[in-house]
Symmetry: C2
Subunit: 149 residues, 2 copies
Protein backbone atom coordinates (compact mmCIF):
# COMPACT_ATOMS: atom_id res chain seq x y z
CA UNK A 1 0.00 0.00 0.00
CA UNK A 2 0.91 3.69 -0.14
CA UNK A 3 2.60 3.84 -3.52
CA UNK A 4 3.58 7.52 -3.41
CA UNK A 5 4.71 8.05 -7.00
CA UNK A 6 7.09 10.91 -7.57
CA UNK A 7 5.54 13.25 -10.13
CA UNK A 8 8.78 14.89 -11.18
CA UNK A 9 10.51 11.60 -11.80
CA UNK A 10 7.61 10.27 -13.79
CA UNK A 11 7.49 13.40 -15.90
CA UNK A 12 11.21 13.25 -16.50
CA UNK A 13 10.95 9.64 -17.58
CA UNK A 14 8.05 10.39 -19.93
CA UNK A 15 10.08 13.15 -21.53
CA UNK A 16 13.08 10.89 -21.94
CA UNK A 17 11.03 8.29 -23.79
CA UNK A 18 9.96 8.78 -27.37
CA UNK A 19 6.59 7.08 -27.28
CA UNK A 20 4.00 8.70 -25.05
CA UNK A 21 1.11 6.41 -25.94
CA UNK A 22 2.42 3.04 -24.87
CA UNK A 23 3.67 3.37 -21.35
CA UNK A 24 6.70 1.16 -21.00
CA UNK A 25 8.52 0.64 -17.76
CA UNK A 26 8.14 2.70 -14.65
CA UNK A 27 10.23 4.96 -12.50
CA UNK A 28 11.30 1.90 -10.53
CA UNK A 29 12.30 -0.03 -13.60
CA UNK A 30 14.33 2.78 -15.04
CA UNK A 31 16.06 3.39 -11.73
CA UNK A 32 17.00 -0.29 -11.55
CA UNK A 33 18.25 -0.27 -15.13
CA UNK A 34 20.22 2.91 -14.51
CA UNK A 35 21.87 1.42 -11.44
CA UNK A 36 22.79 -1.75 -13.31
CA UNK A 37 24.37 0.26 -16.10
CA UNK A 38 26.25 2.54 -13.75
CA UNK A 39 27.86 -0.14 -11.65
CA UNK A 40 30.76 -2.28 -12.82
CA UNK A 41 30.09 -5.21 -10.48
CA UNK A 42 27.44 -7.82 -11.15
CA UNK A 43 25.06 -7.23 -8.28
CA UNK A 44 22.60 -9.63 -6.73
CA UNK A 45 18.94 -8.68 -6.45
CA UNK A 46 19.51 -7.82 -2.80
CA UNK A 47 22.33 -5.43 -3.70
CA UNK A 48 20.15 -3.78 -6.31
CA UNK A 49 17.43 -3.32 -3.73
CA UNK A 50 19.75 -1.68 -1.22
CA UNK A 51 21.27 0.64 -3.79
CA UNK A 52 18.09 1.75 -5.54
CA UNK A 53 16.34 2.30 -2.22
CA UNK A 54 18.53 5.34 -1.78
CA UNK A 55 16.66 6.86 -4.71
CA UNK A 56 13.27 5.26 -4.07
CA UNK A 57 12.98 4.57 -0.34
CA UNK A 58 9.78 2.54 -0.45
CA UNK A 59 11.05 0.12 -3.07
CA UNK A 60 9.98 -3.46 -2.52
CA UNK A 61 11.99 -6.59 -3.10
CA UNK A 62 9.29 -8.13 -5.27
CA UNK A 63 9.45 -5.10 -7.54
CA UNK A 64 13.19 -5.53 -7.93
CA UNK A 65 12.82 -9.16 -8.95
CA UNK A 66 9.91 -8.37 -11.22
CA UNK A 67 11.78 -5.65 -13.04
CA UNK A 68 15.05 -7.52 -13.27
CA UNK A 69 13.14 -10.36 -14.87
CA UNK A 70 11.46 -7.91 -17.26
CA UNK A 71 14.78 -6.33 -18.21
CA UNK A 72 16.22 -9.76 -18.93
CA UNK A 73 13.15 -10.68 -20.99
CA UNK A 74 13.48 -7.48 -23.01
CA UNK A 75 17.14 -8.12 -23.68
CA UNK A 76 18.27 -5.12 -21.65
CA UNK A 77 20.09 -7.21 -19.03
CA UNK A 78 21.35 -10.72 -18.46
CA UNK A 79 21.14 -13.03 -15.52
CA UNK A 80 23.84 -15.45 -14.42
CA UNK A 81 23.48 -18.13 -11.80
CA UNK A 82 26.17 -18.24 -9.17
CA UNK A 83 26.80 -20.37 -6.11
CA UNK A 84 25.50 -17.52 -3.95
CA UNK A 85 22.45 -16.24 -5.77
CA UNK A 86 21.85 -14.88 -9.24
CA UNK A 87 23.82 -11.93 -10.58
CA UNK A 88 22.56 -9.32 -13.02
CA UNK A 89 24.39 -7.43 -15.70
CA UNK A 90 23.58 -5.02 -18.52
CA UNK A 91 25.90 -6.68 -20.97
CA UNK A 92 23.88 -8.97 -23.21
CA UNK A 93 26.43 -9.69 -25.91
CA UNK A 94 28.51 -12.88 -25.68
CA UNK A 95 31.04 -12.65 -22.89
CA UNK A 96 32.22 -14.60 -19.88
CA UNK A 97 32.73 -14.03 -16.20
CA UNK A 98 35.66 -14.13 -13.84
CA UNK A 99 34.79 -14.77 -10.20
CA UNK A 100 37.34 -14.02 -7.51
CA UNK A 101 37.13 -16.61 -4.76
CA UNK A 102 38.78 -14.14 -2.40
CA UNK A 103 36.53 -11.09 -2.54
CA UNK A 104 33.65 -12.53 -4.58
CA UNK A 105 33.77 -9.85 -7.25
CA UNK A 106 32.58 -10.80 -10.74
CA UNK A 107 34.22 -9.24 -13.78
CA UNK A 108 33.57 -9.53 -17.49
CA UNK A 109 35.93 -11.46 -19.72
CA UNK A 110 36.00 -11.12 -23.48
CA UNK A 111 35.37 -14.23 -25.55
CA UNK A 112 38.40 -16.08 -26.81
CA UNK A 113 39.27 -15.95 -30.49
CA UNK A 114 39.02 -19.68 -31.16
CA UNK A 115 35.82 -20.22 -29.27
CA UNK A 116 33.67 -20.19 -32.39
CA UNK A 117 35.68 -22.97 -33.97
CA UNK A 118 35.41 -25.06 -30.83
CA UNK A 119 31.62 -24.61 -30.74
CA UNK A 120 31.35 -25.46 -34.40
CA UNK A 121 33.26 -28.69 -33.85
CA UNK A 122 31.07 -29.56 -30.88
CA UNK A 123 27.93 -29.02 -32.91
CA UNK A 124 29.22 -31.21 -35.71
CA UNK A 125 30.12 -34.07 -33.37
CA UNK A 126 27.09 -33.97 -31.09
CA UNK A 127 24.34 -33.00 -33.49
CA UNK A 128 23.21 -30.31 -31.07
CA UNK A 129 22.63 -26.67 -31.86
CA UNK A 130 24.26 -24.11 -29.59
CA UNK A 131 22.47 -20.94 -28.57
CA UNK A 132 24.99 -19.48 -26.20
CA UNK A 133 28.01 -20.33 -24.14
CA UNK A 134 28.81 -18.90 -20.75
CA UNK A 135 32.12 -19.59 -19.07
CA UNK A 136 32.84 -18.92 -15.44
CA UNK A 137 36.50 -18.53 -14.67
CA UNK A 138 37.31 -18.97 -11.00
CA UNK A 139 40.46 -17.75 -9.37
CA UNK A 140 42.02 -14.94 -7.39
CA UNK A 141 41.97 -11.40 -8.69
CA UNK A 142 45.18 -9.38 -8.70
CA UNK A 143 44.37 -7.52 -5.50
CA UNK A 144 43.45 -10.61 -3.50
CA UNK A 145 46.49 -12.39 -4.86
CA UNK A 146 48.80 -9.70 -3.55
CA UNK A 147 47.03 -9.53 -0.21
CA UNK A 148 46.90 -13.26 0.39
CA UNK A 149 49.35 -15.80 -1.06
Amino acid sequence: METRYNRDEMAARATRQAKPSTRRGSMQREAIAAYLEAVPVHPTAEQVLRAVRKKIPGLGLATVYRNLEALVRDGRASRTVHPEGARYDTRVDPHHHFTCSGCGVVENVEPGPQEAAWIKAFQRVSGASVHRIVADIQGLCGACRRRQG
Copy 2:
Protein backbone atom coordinates in the same frame (compact mmCIF):
# COMPACT_ATOMS: atom_id res chain seq x y z
CA MET B 1 15.10 -42.31 14.92
CA GLU B 2 15.09 -46.04 14.13
CA THR B 3 18.27 -46.27 12.13
CA ARG B 4 17.89 -49.94 11.17
CA TYR B 5 21.38 -50.60 9.76
CA ASN B 6 21.56 -53.50 7.39
CA ARG B 7 24.16 -55.93 8.71
CA ASP B 8 24.80 -57.62 5.40
CA GLU B 9 25.35 -54.34 3.57
CA MET B 10 27.66 -53.07 6.28
CA ALA B 11 29.67 -56.26 6.18
CA ALA B 12 29.88 -56.15 2.41
CA ARG B 13 31.11 -52.59 2.53
CA ALA B 14 33.71 -53.40 5.17
CA THR B 15 34.99 -56.25 3.01
CA ARG B 16 35.15 -54.03 -0.05
CA GLN B 17 37.26 -51.50 1.80
CA ALA B 18 40.89 -52.16 2.59
CA LYS B 19 41.10 -50.45 5.95
CA PRO B 20 38.97 -51.94 8.66
CA SER B 21 40.17 -49.74 11.50
CA THR B 22 39.31 -46.27 10.23
CA ARG B 23 35.71 -46.34 9.20
CA ARG B 24 35.33 -44.07 6.19
CA GLY B 25 32.03 -43.45 4.56
CA SER B 26 28.91 -45.45 5.20
CA MET B 27 26.59 -47.70 3.33
CA GLN B 28 24.59 -44.62 2.36
CA ARG B 29 27.61 -42.72 1.10
CA GLU B 30 28.85 -45.59 -1.02
CA ALA B 31 25.42 -46.14 -2.49
CA ILE B 32 25.22 -42.49 -3.44
CA ALA B 33 28.69 -42.56 -4.97
CA ALA B 34 27.88 -45.74 -6.85
CA TYR B 35 24.73 -44.21 -8.28
CA LEU B 36 26.57 -41.09 -9.37
CA GLU B 37 29.19 -43.13 -11.15
CA ALA B 38 26.68 -45.39 -12.83
CA VAL B 39 24.49 -42.69 -14.28
CA PRO B 40 25.47 -40.58 -17.30
CA VAL B 41 23.21 -37.62 -16.46
CA HIS B 42 24.10 -35.00 -13.91
CA PRO B 43 21.44 -35.55 -11.29
CA THR B 44 20.11 -33.11 -8.75
CA ALA B 45 20.09 -34.01 -5.07
CA GLU B 46 16.41 -34.84 -5.36
CA GLN B 47 17.05 -37.26 -8.21
CA VAL B 48 19.81 -38.92 -6.23
CA LEU B 49 17.43 -39.34 -3.32
CA ARG B 50 14.73 -40.95 -5.42
CA ALA B 51 17.16 -43.32 -7.12
CA VAL B 52 19.12 -44.42 -4.07
CA ARG B 53 15.95 -44.94 -2.05
CA LYS B 54 15.27 -47.97 -4.20
CA LYS B 55 18.33 -49.53 -2.53
CA ILE B 56 17.97 -47.92 0.88
CA PRO B 57 14.29 -47.18 1.45
CA GLY B 58 14.69 -45.16 4.63
CA LEU B 59 17.21 -42.76 3.15
CA GLY B 60 16.76 -39.15 4.21
CA LEU B 61 17.24 -36.06 2.12
CA ALA B 62 19.62 -34.51 4.63
CA THR B 63 21.83 -37.57 4.34
CA VAL B 64 21.96 -37.18 0.59
CA TYR B 65 23.05 -33.55 0.86
CA ARG B 66 25.52 -34.37 3.62
CA ASN B 67 27.16 -37.12 1.61
CA LEU B 68 27.17 -35.27 -1.69
CA GLU B 69 28.94 -32.45 0.09
CA ALA B 70 31.41 -34.91 1.59
CA LEU B 71 32.08 -36.52 -1.78
CA VAL B 72 32.77 -33.12 -3.30
CA ARG B 73 35.04 -32.21 -0.40
CA ASP B 74 36.99 -35.43 -0.87
CA GLY B 75 37.39 -34.83 -4.58
CA ARG B 76 35.22 -37.79 -5.53
CA ALA B 77 32.53 -35.68 -7.17
CA SER B 78 31.91 -32.18 -8.41
CA ARG B 79 29.02 -29.81 -8.00
CA THR B 80 27.76 -27.40 -10.63
CA VAL B 81 25.22 -24.67 -10.08
CA HIS B 82 22.40 -24.54 -12.55
CA PRO B 83 19.33 -22.36 -12.98
CA GLU B 84 17.22 -25.17 -11.50
CA GLY B 85 19.24 -26.49 -8.59
CA ALA B 86 22.74 -27.87 -8.25
CA ARG B 87 23.89 -30.86 -10.29
CA TYR B 88 26.37 -33.51 -9.20
CA ASP B 89 28.87 -35.45 -11.21
CA THR B 90 31.72 -37.88 -10.60
CA ARG B 91 33.98 -36.27 -13.17
CA VAL B 92 36.40 -33.99 -11.35
CA ASP B 93 38.90 -33.29 -14.13
CA PRO B 94 38.52 -30.14 -16.24
CA HIS B 95 35.53 -30.35 -18.53
CA HIS B 96 32.45 -28.38 -19.50
CA HIS B 97 28.74 -28.93 -19.68
CA PHE B 98 26.14 -28.82 -22.38
CA THR B 99 22.59 -28.12 -21.21
CA CYS B 100 19.67 -28.86 -23.50
CA SER B 101 17.00 -26.23 -23.07
CA GLY B 102 14.46 -28.66 -24.46
CA CYS B 103 14.76 -31.70 -22.19
CA GLY B 104 17.07 -30.27 -19.53
CA VAL B 105 19.69 -32.98 -19.87
CA VAL B 106 23.28 -32.07 -19.02
CA GLU B 107 26.15 -33.70 -20.88
CA ASN B 108 29.90 -33.45 -20.57
CA VAL B 109 31.94 -31.58 -23.13
CA GLU B 110 35.68 -31.95 -23.53
CA PRO B 111 37.83 -28.84 -23.13
CA GLY B 112 38.79 -27.07 -26.31
CA PRO B 113 42.37 -27.18 -27.51
CA GLN B 114 43.04 -23.44 -27.40
CA GLU B 115 41.50 -22.90 -24.01
CA ALA B 116 44.81 -22.92 -22.18
CA ALA B 117 46.25 -20.16 -24.35
CA TRP B 118 43.17 -18.05 -23.81
CA ILE B 119 43.42 -18.46 -20.03
CA LYS B 120 47.10 -17.65 -20.09
CA ALA B 121 46.41 -14.43 -21.98
CA PHE B 122 43.67 -13.51 -19.54
CA GLN B 123 45.97 -14.06 -16.57
CA ARG B 124 48.65 -11.91 -18.15
CA VAL B 125 46.29 -9.04 -18.87
CA SER B 126 44.29 -9.08 -15.64
CA GLY B 127 46.92 -10.06 -13.12
CA ALA B 128 44.58 -12.70 -11.73
CA SER B 129 45.38 -16.35 -11.18
CA VAL B 130 42.95 -18.91 -12.55
CA HIS B 131 42.03 -22.04 -10.62
CA ARG B 132 39.43 -23.50 -12.90
CA ILE B 133 37.14 -22.68 -15.75
CA VAL B 134 33.67 -24.07 -16.23
CA ALA B 135 31.72 -23.40 -19.39
CA ASP B 136 28.03 -24.04 -19.78
CA ILE B 137 26.93 -24.45 -23.37
CA GLN B 138 23.22 -23.96 -23.84
CA GLY B 139 21.29 -25.20 -26.81
CA LEU B 140 19.13 -27.99 -28.16
CA CYS B 141 20.39 -31.56 -28.19
CA GLY B 142 20.08 -33.61 -31.36
CA ALA B 143 16.94 -35.41 -30.25
CA CYS B 144 15.08 -32.28 -29.17
CA ARG B 145 16.16 -30.56 -32.35
CA ARG B 146 14.63 -33.25 -34.49
CA ARG B 147 11.46 -33.37 -32.40
CA GLN B 148 10.92 -29.62 -32.28
CA GLY B 149 12.20 -27.18 -34.89
